[in-house]
Symmetry: C2
Subunit: 351 residues, 2 copies
């Protein structure tokens, strides 16, 4: 049967093949020629186009071998972030207070206005950065936007990272904060939000909470989650050298995870939550972009959630690479992304 006859053909006679691993099926690999990608413009704001047309992140292949090397880079990067943080706080109209909750460092972010129906709600934020980047207040930018654009009180977890601590320290700290919050706030009124490693943490926190017999939160918002750090996920290949932030599955983020994991099995659902059992998860909204290296691992997570009967929504932005929907609060697509998340929390928290 000629393949022309099976285009769009639902009733095609299909020779079932047995599943083979990537290693076994290299003969079936698809060879894609070099190509030139114009900057997409339709339905994309000029501000977002500027991010999309930026050259490849020149540091994508910084393959640090030690936690100290990673931290030295993180410190320089964080100093850069901090230069813009007061402007962001001002635009968001939020106040920020550094505190500790049961020994874990957090930033408590309060917007100038909270809608009456959100006054008893709390969002816990886990920042991104491959488990090694954005120490201290530099990790709060997404939390500031969640508070300022979404009008919720947000607690951003300044979880321990290498070289201070390794897996599962980030998760332990985040779950400690959750336990602390639900002493005074009904669990159904609590949402989790985070992007990249922070997106993975929102799911890992649910897995760990269930393990420990804790009640489920009301909803979660995993943004382009690092849901599989074992290099499975087709977009690791299709979007290689297309995503201008992560660029490659063999880049700085992979090196970072290996430092954080410190030899722990990367397939553990507490590091690769797509491998976890998602039955009983709270409603989830997932966000990614068509050029995102983690496009596959976002949609795989949504499929796993929905196969487990969970109400899981998916937002995919045209042309965006990894996490670009939360780079700048002044970009229309950023307002849109946090508008979607806030509406989702509004619909599900408390119920």
């Amino acid at each position: 049967m000629n393949i022309s006859r099976i285009i769009f053909l639902s009733a095609a006679i299909l020779a079932a093949s047995s599943a083979t691993s990537r290693a076994e099926n290299s003969a079936d690999a698809l060879q894609v020629p070099a190509k030139s990608l114009p900057v997409p413009t339709e339905d994309i704001s000029p501000e977002m186009q500027a991010f999309i047309k930026a050259p490849l992140n020149p540091d994508w292949n910084k393959l640090w071998k030690t936690a100290d090397e990673a931290r030295a880079y993180a410190n320089v990067q964080a100093a850069g972030v901090m230069k813009g943080i007061q402007g962001l706080k001002d635009r968001m109209g939020v106040t920020v207070e550094a505190q500790t909750m049961d020994g874990v460092k957090v930033y408590v972010i309060t917007p100038s206005t909270i809608a009456p129906e959100n006054k008893d709600k709390v969002i816990i934020h886990t920042h991104g950065g491959c488990y090694v980047l954005f120490p201290g207040e530099a990790g709060t930018t997404e939390a500031l936007m969640m508070a300022g654009l979404g009008h919720y009180k947000v607690i951003s977890v300044d979880y321990r990272m290498p070289p201070e601590a390794y897996f599962p320290a980030a998760l332990d700290d985040a779950v400690t904060v959750y336990k602390s919050v639900i002493k005074t706030t009904p669990p159904k009124n609590v949402g989790f939000v985070g992007t990249s490693a922070g997106g993975a943490l929102t799911m890992e926190m649910v897995l760990r909470a269930r393990e420990q017999g804790l009640p489920m939160p009301g909803a979660i918002a995993p943004g382009t989650p690092m849901s599989d750090v074992t290099k499975h996920g087709d977009a690791f290949y299709t979007n290689e050298m297309v995503d201008n932030i992560l660029v490659s599955r063999d880049g700085f983020c992979d090196a970072s995870v290996n430092i954080y994991a410190k030899g722990h099995d990367l397939a553990d659902p507490l590091l690769s939550p797509v491998n976890g059992d998602m039955h009983g998860f709270p409603p989830a909204i997932l966000t990614t972009g068509t050029r995102d290296l983690l496009l596959s691992n976002t949609v795989r997570a949504q499929r796993k959630l929905r196969r487990a009967g969970v109400d899981a929504e998916l937002v995919v932005f045209e042309g965006q690479s990894h996490a670009q929907y939360q780079f700048d609060d002044r970009v229309p697509e950023t307002k849109e992304a946090f508008g979607e998340i806030a509406a989702f929390f509004g619909k599900h928290l408390g119920h």
Copy 2:
């Protein structure tokens, strides 16, 4: 500011750039080297892997110049489909009756069991095939699955195609069937389903219905819709030579649309519905795959719908090229796709 400092950085200082067309921004084009894509296997059934690892559709660059050429190809292809149609009907447990409704040829498909709550519901199906392929009963495969897997009565529109008729004949016929159906069925009990050109038609029908002052249907399910036939959509580039069905924006489907449009403006929302005003649209569920050449034009349609306040859900299958979720009823992902659509119709029809 070094780009390393803006990775994941929400507060980055952003130099706004003015929007430029693709033609103007070729200097900003991203050069992507040749690559080899292994067959993705994680969370993908062996049956679907067989479709994913098939070589590029050898007929992707059949660039027919006349309607007669296209029809000659369509007839051969349809004959191939028809060889499998009885088996599909048997597996789906449906009966099929050829009829006309107000002069339009249709196939009325009735499943052996219809849940009591679905007895007063009707799904109108518009088949795919770039507005020139799958004449006659060969166009019913997706409708058979919708009826058999989703347990709804389905009316599949055998709309006129070139060389018999040109734009807007397909749309006219589909809207005629809708008008006929709502003589006896409340509009809120009617759903529209279709893939590719059929997915675009589900949206074009809503635009046309609103234009004519007709009531809205209860819900629509645009599958990987040809929502923009002007070659806008980033995945036309990123998934070029990656999608093994459509392969290229300059392939058979583009040639087909030009034949159907017969000189009509391709940007007209009745040919490129992403350009339409989507306020007041019924709830929608959209389906695509990460390798789909129409990934962008599916997610753009979802964004447009949600920006217009419409409840629009998105399903993206890992590794799939264009329309592969509806190639074979025996594939687990096909059951999953129609399960999602049926559940969505179940939630929204009648309300």
